[in-house]
């Protein structure tokens, strides 16, 4: 067996720690040993269903108590795991099914396993050349012995977004997971006897899956896990769980801390005890310094300490974490001269009032190297701004696409992250912009093509002449605007109709809404001679109308 699975199975035998999950009012604990026994039965069921070494198994489930044994059981059966994009009450089921089918084709899934609350979708997969299984039926099977797997076998095929056009999955190996989780273990100084992890993060996202399910399962750490719906229904549930279970470690994207800051500020004195929290990570979304400050101010009343805040940087391609602040250190904010940043591509320290603030994202995890590649193609030194490249055993080398496997790294093993950033004198990484078109809305990675495709379905919009662009606003996170061409651009009432319909169409399909929709005349959207959109220029079109001082590249 590979070293990851060997360690995972072994740590399940020690101690009474496990996964505390279920209905938020009545959480119950399943020890890692019990989960391992369930996983062996699931592996038996999968084997019976024809799943073999190297196959891909897709999972559509929401409950942590289903997902933990399922993931382990799929590995014990020698197969790889893929978490499918989940339908919401708003989702158009026909288009979700189309997307799901494309995703299953890309990974050539042998089987799909459906759990709570998605059992009803099982019949929808009928007629597809795929094994359809439920968690419940797998739980009832006879246990099987683990199928041996190698360190470089694919363990996880993680889709990088809900991108419907060209689904692309990061191929995470056992070696990648071993290296990254060991790195996080080291850098977080986790102690199994004392630490309790608290999470509501979605398990179809790398931060929830790797950080708060696979991580604690591998280490044998105690984790309390509820769902994103539980959290959104009542964000203070997080503070309740931290208090009740004496939580010490947690993580979330920036938007959640903004939400919590507001709720905590209104809570009664003494309602919660956040004093044991020593590791509160902010990741998966650009960190707004003001949000961290507000969260701290609101939390201090309940014993939250500033050195508990852990700014971090990571991505699915690196399994999860690339850098984070070390425990016991207080986060540091960089004040940077905006002109130098924009023109000279240098993050010069500034004490002026117009200085831009960026959070330092901690030092690299052990096993990582980073390189800043400037626009001129040089390797940057401290405070030179360029594209962040990372390398190490945590970094996946391949993507799985509809054209098979493609390289994710170059011949030197470097991954171009698409993020712009620099290194500080104290070896901390700072992200100050993004080269790729991708948007990050409330912790979700969104590709502009998907927004543009939704907008194109509205009457009067010229297909292929739509640009979804980033639209930064202070205080309320990353947003986007849509610029589109229409022959009716001179007709005010028609423009209003188009703007509204485009906004609600995008919301219906994706659950996100543009900050602004702008209808322009035919030929106004900037394109390359070969007809490719120039989104960055289109972004300037919008930004120039809002506020001339806004930095379109700031993250």
């Amino acid at each position: 067996m590979n070293k990851f699975m060997t360690a995972l199975v072994e740590s399940s035998r020690y101690g009474e720690r496990g996964l505390i999950a279920g209905d938020p009012d009545r959480l119950t604990k399943t020890t890692w040993d019990e989960i391992h026994q369930q996983a062996r039965r699931i592996a038996g069921g999968l084997h019976q269903a024809g799943v073999r070494h190297g196959d891909a198994v897709a999972v559509l489930a929401g409950a942590p108590r289903d997902i933990a044994p399922l993931v382990q059981g799929i590995w014990l059966a020698g197969a790889s795991v893929t978490m499918l994009h989940q339908p919401t009450p708003r989702t158009d089921l026909a288009s979700w099914l189309g997307d799901t089918q494309r995703a299953l084709e890309v990974i050539e899934a042998r089987a799909v396993v459906v759990g709570t609350p998605f059992e009803a979708t099982l019949s929808a997969f009928g007629g597809w050349p795929i094994q359809r299984l439920t968690v419940e039926q797998l739980f009832a099977d006879d246990a099987a012995d683990p199928v041996p797997t190698a360190d470089d076998d694919v363990a996880f095929l993680q889709f990088t977004s809900g991108s419907t056009g060209a689904p692309k999955a990061v191929a995470i190996t056992y070696r990648n997971m071993y290296d990254n989780i060991r790195g996080m273990e080291f850098a977080s100084r986790i102690r199994l006897k004392h630490d309790v992890m608290i999470s509501w993060l979605p398990l179809f996202h790398d931060m929830g899956m790797m950080g708060f399910l696979i991580g604690p399962m591998f280490l044998g750490a105690e984790v309390v896990s509820v769902t994103p719906m539980d959290f959104l229904n009542d964000p203070l549930l997080w503070a309740e769980l931290v208090t009740k279970y004496r939580g010490t470690m947690s993580a979330a994207p920036n938007f959640a801390y903004a939400l919590l800051a507001k709720r905590l500020a209104r809570a009664d004195d003494g309602a919660y005890d956040l004093s044991l929290l020593r590791f509160v990570l902010s990741g998966a979304e650009p960190i707004d310094v003001a949000v961290v400050e507000k969260f701290l101010r609101a939390g201090e009343r309940f014993g939250l300490t500033p050195d508990a805040i852990v700014p971090a940087y990571g991505m699915a391609e690196a399994t999860l974490a690339v850098s984070f602040l070390r425990p016991g250190e207080k986060f540091k904010v960089d004040y940077v001269d905006p002109t130098s940043l924009q023109i000279l591509k240098r993050a010069s320290v500034s004490r002026a009032e117009d200085a831009q603030r960026f959070m330092r994202l901690g030092r690299l995890l052990p096993g990582f190297e980073a390189m800043i590649l400037t626009d001129r193609g040089d390797i940057g030194t401290y405070r030179d701004v360029g594209e962040i490249h990372v390398r190490g055993d945590s970094v996946a080398t391949r993507y799985r696409t509809d054209a098979g496997y493609i390289d994710a790294t170059d011949e030197g093993g470097w991954l171009a992250t698409g993020d712009l950033g620099y290194m500080t004198e104290d070896a901390q990484l700072v992200v100050c912009g993004r080269r790729k078109d991708m948007l990050i809305i409330s912790g979700r990675n969104i590709y502009p093509v998907d927004i543009e495709r939704a907008a194109a379905r509205v009457d009067g919009v010229r297909a292929g002449n739509i640009a979804a662009v980033r639209m930064p606003t202070d205080g309320s996170g990353e947003g986007f605007a849509v610029v589109l061409e229409s022959i009716a651009s001179g007709d005010a009432s028609e423009c209003i109709r188009i703007e509204r319909e485009v906004a609600s169409r995008i919301f219906q399909e994706m659950g996100i809404s543009p900050r602004r929709v702008e209808v322009v005349g035919v030929g106004r959207i900037p394109k390359t001679p070969s007809g490719k959109l120039r989104r960055l220029e289109a972004q300037r079109l919008i930004c120039s109308r809002t506020s001339p001082v806004e930095q379109p590249q700031s993250a």
Partner: protein
């Protein structure tokens, strides 16, 4: 009573959803004008429940196009609580229905 509900909705929009005062009018389109996304809807529903004791289901919420529609949906639910859900919050319900906040 309506002004009470509207007042609480205003508070939620300004305090929790970062909507500016100028944007607030009953014809404002929740998605197109106020930029509501699924997170805003979830937050709004949670706040309406905690402040007004009214639980709107997702169908009821998504059928509201404007702020006025949302106000009517909440008011209807206070006057005709269809399910015993509201009974969990009788005191909050009486307090908010009886007086402007």
């Amino acid at each position: 009573m309506n002004s009470g509900v509207y007042g609480v909705l205003q508070e939620i929009l300004i305090e929790d959803l970062d909507v500016s005062v100028e944007q607030l009018h009953s014809e404002a389109d929740l998605i197109a004008d106020l930029g509501f996304d699924s997170l805003s809807f979830a937050t709004g529903v949670a706040e309406i429940r905690s402040r007004l004791g009214v639980t709107l289901d997702s169908e009821e919420v998504f059928s509201c196009r404007t702020l006025g529609d949302l106000q009517r949906a909440v008011t209807d639910k206070i006057q005709h609580p269809a399910l015993p859900v509201a009974a969990n919050f009788p005191e909050q319900l009486r307090a908010s229905a009886g007086e402007a906040p």
